[in-house]
Symmetry: D2
Subunit: 312 residues, 4 copies
């Protein structure tokens, strides 16, 4: 495992509490199972631990195939001291309905869970427990832990399979999500200094402030990618938090900063948007290799550079 | 007032409960103060009332200068039966800390509010009530109403000034938000059939599915705007909910569909992305008129059409 | 034959004198063989006959696969009263060496011909008559006619096969051109009012002044084509004749002005370069049909227009 | 004088014969007046002398504000052994009517000159000598020299002022050109190895084969310039001589290959069109400095390169 050496004395952190999908994602990182893992209450505090050197890296959700980007994560990695994404993990999103021993479906009048989980299981509840009320919790795991702690605000919780396993609560129903096939993408974020090696199937993440508020600004940015044949696999706008209409674009592109075409596009982007942040180059979870035309290969960039050098 | 005639027998709805910023926005629409106004529990149910003919129009938050786009609203207007945005309102976001009579700052150990409001008042609480716990509520107004109903889960709530006025709770502190100057933009959404007249300072909202997953697809879309001189004032990507990497772009452009350059760009976009939705042309809240070059004026489009007709 | 009805009482004209490749091209136009054909001394005088109503149409060379565009023709059709290209013909360029009866290769010390023909037969003369001098003539046919008239300035001429046939001069050598396979493209130019019907394999010719001297002007023009999927098959810059750096682009595109995508591109171009000239839509000589993506078809344009109409 | 050191033992050559505008241009190059200057009969033979090391450099016309690009020069520098443009000179085009002593206007029935000169003096002859016939000559100077040699084919010649001075023929009329203010641009072409120093007001000339025959090929080339803020001051298409529709673009851009933005654009172009030729960076005749935005400055390129290096 490249990005998380066992030799690090520092723990890993994740968006807690224990049993969240985020911990499930963290456990997929080679070596993570043998390291200390401490939960954080939100993305900002998880990254604060990394920035202060209290944690080696933090696992956070970044994008959900149903809900879209996770604003708290996008914003937390784009501001403050620089960080680097080291690894990505994609986890299927599947929910279970859990309850303490003895509770049956007929006993349930209220269900605790995170609003997102509630939103993604509406169909199942509409059919099986149409009268159950929703009690919002800060996470799916928190709701389950409340049941263990003996809450009387609700009789059951919607959570990830992992938390059922960890708490020993009964599973009353599994795979209750409305959208079969939904996935969430997670990123492991560490300090700068560790740049994962290129694997041929990599991803680079950037935060690019839109330089000026004029019709062509976004096209000028896209042109820097297009002129080097760099493909965008994700683009999301985030407000800068200053004024309506002032955006930072959060972008994933195919390739590694050690690929000549990506490095060259980054040079161009740094000129047109000097506040741009490099948030890491790391292996793609899906191991899919991009199709690179011959004139955008490292060899083509090398020959072009040699040719211009020969003129000077 | 064009978009909300008093003569409509149908009520208006808004993201409730009463006292939210959304109701405050609705009250700014000319005529709304004299109409029946009913709260809805979420964006989907508010729009369902409009789609079923139970409400004339629904007021919903669409974008916050700190948090960015409101995914629930963006998704709810982009899917299902077609709707139209009739009006936009921009409201400053300012929070108050409220409590029942007799409660003082020293009594507060827990504060109820919506997680977004809690996130936007962290600095004030860090300074004044560093040990207060957060109890999540479904809205800022809901937390205030729980106080009125006598909850013992928390002693105070963070909410909008309007809800303090409506409930009669005491204001312990005002303007406690961390970001002075933050605003939220709201839209009033009705059924198709009512197209507000152009005013010279209009906005058009579109939902454009990205046609294919290839490097140039987004540029092909932007090109349709650029070739007619149409400026984008907002662009956000939203997942289609099917696969990671499949997006719908939610876009605001300067101008009205009755402006020739906007109509022509829409024709081009409908070809390259036939699933595109027109979500309305309506007056800008800020009344700012766009700068149109002479060759993109209605007159220029008219002359060009006449010229081509003369050839045929 | 659509464009040249036998019923026209007016003659045809061509870049003379008789026997040029241009006359050969004219004879390929259906119906032309039965009409009166009068030579003109240059492109400007040929087009003057058409503009004054003294000729129905004029045949002129426009492009040579070796020499490139023919500036005199490009400029003559782009300025003055408007004209329309009705037809194009592509003729292989093959030269013969002709001389009066009794003259043999050994007798030749000087050869009359047009400088272009001389340039295109350098290899043959280098090998067979290395010491022959060149006497410039205004056309290949003029040189041959001088021989018939008994000139003593040269003993042989390089000309088109047609002129050998017409004058009865002896052919001493045939196919003496250096570039086997060279072709010249000719256009038949008439008055506006006759627009050839679309055939599915058409070409449209435009003269587009570059609107401003700035980096993006040419891209702005190309963008109007690209955003409608219109392919350029020829692009040439011509000076406006006013200052260095002021250009008119002479352009051929695939398709007919009755094709929706071409008409729409023309509307866009007329806006960004109002001085643009439409020089005709006419069948391609090579009958090659363009590949049109479904979203650039007439049906797609029609649906897009209907859709926008439905919004208004 | 940088580009033509007096110390070169080799002569200069120019498109002759003596007295042409080309020789006039050559005499403007600092130092040229003191060097041996030999005429060449055409562009190809002039450049052959340079390529073989028989001449230090050749002066050739490249562009005329009335006639456009000079195809023979454009093609001769774009093919064969590589050459470099060292210098450019812009010369006003003004014609004189010359004749041997004793000849008056009334005596003139035929006028010898190059067809281009004849074309550019049509108005003057239409007014003053409407019945004079034109006898074509290979150059304006050649016609004048024929008069000196005693030709009886014509009584007067149209030529450059320089040839009148050199031959001693009488000037019957001066400034007889139709277009006052017409200029011709000339280039001095030498062997690779000498790269003129940047002056801040430079020009770079390229010959770029269009990589593929598809709608976007030309835009892909222009994009390489646009993404580095490099302005095109001239663009001309020339046929490759192989098929209709196969082009080489002859391009002048603002700036020197030692300017970072130009070097970077050349790297990009070399990838998309590997057959591209660099034909030199040299001072502009008009000494006009380009407007460079700060993000396209050498400093911006340097910072961007350093920034990417810091990531690796």
């Amino acid at each position: 495992m490249i990005s998380v050496p066992n030799t690090s004395a520092l723990p890993l952190t994740f968006l807690g509490p224990e049993g969240t999908f985020t911990e499930a994602a963290l456990l997929q990182v080679p070596g993570a199972v043998d390291m200390e893992r401490i939960p954080s209450t939100n993305a900002a505090s998880a990254l604060a631990k990394v920035r202060k050197g209290e944690a080696f890296a933090a696992m956070l959700p970044i994008e959900n195939s149903i809900e879209g980007g996770v604003p708290a994560t996008l914003d937390a990695i784009s501001n403050g001291l620089e960080l680097r994404i080291l690894h990505e993990v994609v986890v299927p999103v599947s929910f279970v309905l859990v309850a303490p021993a003895g509770v049956t479906l007929a006993d349930i009048t209220a269900v605790g869970t995170h609003p997102h989980a509630w939103a993604q299981t509406r169909d199942w509840f509409g059919e099986h427990l149409p009268n159950a009320a929703h009690v919002p919790a800060n996470s799916t795991a928190a709701a389950a832990h409340s049941l263990v702690a003996g809450t009387d605000a609700f009789q059951a919780a919607v959570c990830a399979p992992l938390v059922a396993e960890q708490t020993g609560l009964n599973i009353l129903a599994a795979a209750i999500e409305d959208n079969i096939g939904a996935v969430t993408r997670f990123i492991l974020v560490g300090q700068p200094g560790t740049l994962p090696e290129p694997t041929g199937a990599d991803k680079t993440t950037l935060a690019i402030p839109l330089p000026e508020d004029h019709p062509g600004a976004l096209m000028a940015i896209l042109e820097q990618f297009a002129s080097r044949g760099v493909n965008l696999s994700r683009i999301e706008s985030r407000p800068t938090g200053q004024f309506l209409g002032h955006y930072i674009f959060s972008v994933d592109v195919d390739g590694h900063v050690r690929d000549a075409r990506v490095a060259d596009a980054l040079r161009g982007l740094h000129r047109v948007s000097p506040g741009m942040r490099f948030l890491g180059s790391y292996p793609r979870a899906d191991r899919q290799e991009p199709l690179i035309r011959s004139y955008n290969s490292d060899a083509a960039f090398g020959e072009a550079a040699d040719w211009v050098d020969s003129l000077l």
